[in-house]
Amino acid sequence: MSACANKRRRVVVTGYGMITPIGKDSGETFENARNGVSGIDIISSFETKGLPCRIGGQVSDSWLSGFEGKRLQGIEKCSSRGLKFMIAATSEAAAMARLDSIEDRAMIGVSLGYHGENPTVEDLVRLYRHAGGDGWDILGLTKEGAYSFFNFFRRKPDVAASILSILFDCRGAGFTVVSACAAGSQAIGEALGTIRAGKAEVMIAGGCESNLNFMGFVGFVLIRALAEKYSSPDKASRPFDRKRNGFVMSEGAGALVLESLEHAEARNAPIYGEVLGYGSSADAFRITDIHPKGDGAVFAMERALADAGLCAADIDYINAHGTSTLQNDQIETLAIKRVLGERAKLVPVSSNKSMTGHTIAGGGAIEAGLTIMGMNGSIVLPTINYEFPDPKCDLDYVPNEARPLEHAIALSNSFGFGGQNACLCLGKFHK
């Protein structure tokens, strides 16, 4: 069984793409992030009157129109908004990687972090009409279109991976990871393992999400997880700042094309970076709370380092999960200190979510892409809105301005609701 072998097979990044509230592609997103531009604004995509939080990071519909025309013919109705983002991100990554030129499509797979589409308020109204005391009038429900074929399609996470496989002609391993905010990073980590084990030569890996609809949003409102106190929308996402008070929901997608080094070299593919290691863990603490000592986060980071064959002293930069919630940022800081020890205050740590907001399953993949771009551009992206230091968050968060810095090895953290954690160890490519 080959699963036990090939652990040291090198896996490189030959393409990346993204669509975020601050950019229609990776170049625009990186440039805006470098300039500290916030993508957070008043939500216009659904009715927010009466809600204590009315802001989010929306992706402009106009950025999707080109893809809807070109790519979605025939499948428009069963394509969720999250999937459309992923198609946009993957199109960019696939073009960079010249994916079309690969002949053996059976060696290309898809690993996607995604959770499907939420019901609409209109769905609830229709459901109400068909929920009687004697059970469900499912035929009536279906005839009326309350849960039509396409609604079911958009609700199922694996349909997105399936459509992605079809659109990009990937006939190798295809799977969907559903681990909440860790899903994008876990999807990349699982793709890494798939290539190392020789089960694929190339994997499209990443994540996408769109929760900027009433039902997707209101759950987080009701559990009081979202930022409710802000002087202006662009100031609301403030990871590690003392006045942070919740995360800002946003939407988007990120995609990487991962490839075995030998396969990439054999076809002269461009190489932008390397995935050196991956670690995952479970807090096993409480569904709705993070382990107070950050055990799960520590395990994930330590395992990513061990998997990469590196030690804490090798880390030049950490792309933090950094959600802007009181609990996450404090505990992530603690966890980083436990992993890096005395070096913790010397290593820059920043949160892209200060600009993009939290794209849930999209976050890990977007942040991995930005980390690789930062290494290649010798730029560490900033944590914006860092104004009031929190004594419990006392690391170098690269406040407010991007920093020129040669760096070659980085960790990228993603910690999921429920206690699933993931960490990627990314490296600048050296032959």
Binding site: M1, N118, S280
Partner: protein, 405 residues
Amino acid sequence: MNEGVQNPSRPSSECVAITGLGAVCSLGNSVREIVEAFLRGKSASVEIPEFGCFAARVQNLSAITTDVSPQLARTMGKHLSLLMASVGEALGAASLDQAMFDPGDMGFFAGMGMVDYHVEDLLSAVLRSLKGDGEIDYDRFFLQGYREIYPLWPLGMLNNVAFCQASIHFGLRGENSVFCPHGDSGVRAVYEAACALGEGKAKIALAGGVSEEISPLSLARANLKGVIGPHAPAAFLGEAGAMMVLEPFANAVGRGASILGRILGFGFSFERSQDGRFASKQAISSAIGAALADAGLAPAGIDLVMLSSFNESELEAVREVFALQADRPVIVAAPYVVGDTLAAGPVLNAAIVLSISGDEKLASNLLLCSRGGDSKAFTIGRVLINGISCEGGCGSMIIEGANAG
């Protein structure tokens, strides 16, 4: 038993051993109960008149004690009890308890069937917002009604929440991942567990899957997709949870564990059929071929094939790969008695087949290719287990019984 082996078998010490099995399904609430009912070939499915179909529910599961509120536990639904019951049995069968291992060394990988929010968690918001004529007053809904929504309702849509609760309950803090929702995700979970062990990222790993809960939404979804209903008249959904404990062979031997079987290989592929209702025959063949190659086996090296589905394409692919010139491999279709158990299917099949003793016979209605009479006794040798998704994903794994030659 060496017939069909392309490469010399790897020493057992390099392989992954199966040391514990746990399962619940409509046939019973333990592996032994399930096997005894399975051998009789009798389905526990019942008609669901309002949907005009059959379904096989898990009955009489012991109450699960967790530290979460009853309402939160309800949000996780039957997923939680199916998963907890099968994990608990598998750990017990492997003679493992929490004191015996470092929680950080315990990997946990699962395929989780679709979960559905509880409509009643949301409908009170609609009721609160109705006008006198029965239509909804959207102003009232957006300003006040929404507050009636149960705050944690989104957890009912996250496939990983029951998984996280099981991690908490059993103290599993190692490498992990959750895939969803069909049979291929169950195979993927076992594969990831084997990789974690092979790479030294875990010392012990739990792997398996959980089906969907039979509910109006799951039945409607399966019907609309053609998994059940007019396009698949013999098919029905089944509830199940199934987990296996995996360890490096040497470790299992070292701690004196009972070795029930071992993992030999995996294969994966993707392609939808033309009608979009299942994986293509070519993709299924490709996954089987990759698993055989991974295990270093020729088709003749397989003694038994456990099908994943009721779909004709899967049977055709198996027939094609194995040429079926003789009375082997035996082909068994467990879905005919347990239903389509989706992500739970592959490990449920493994649990059944590894728990059948040599003198027990399979009922004829389970056998899709047998020239040996009404029922069949066989030695558990090498078994190919499929996990196929109606969305096009294919996974195949090959296991070997502990007493295989």
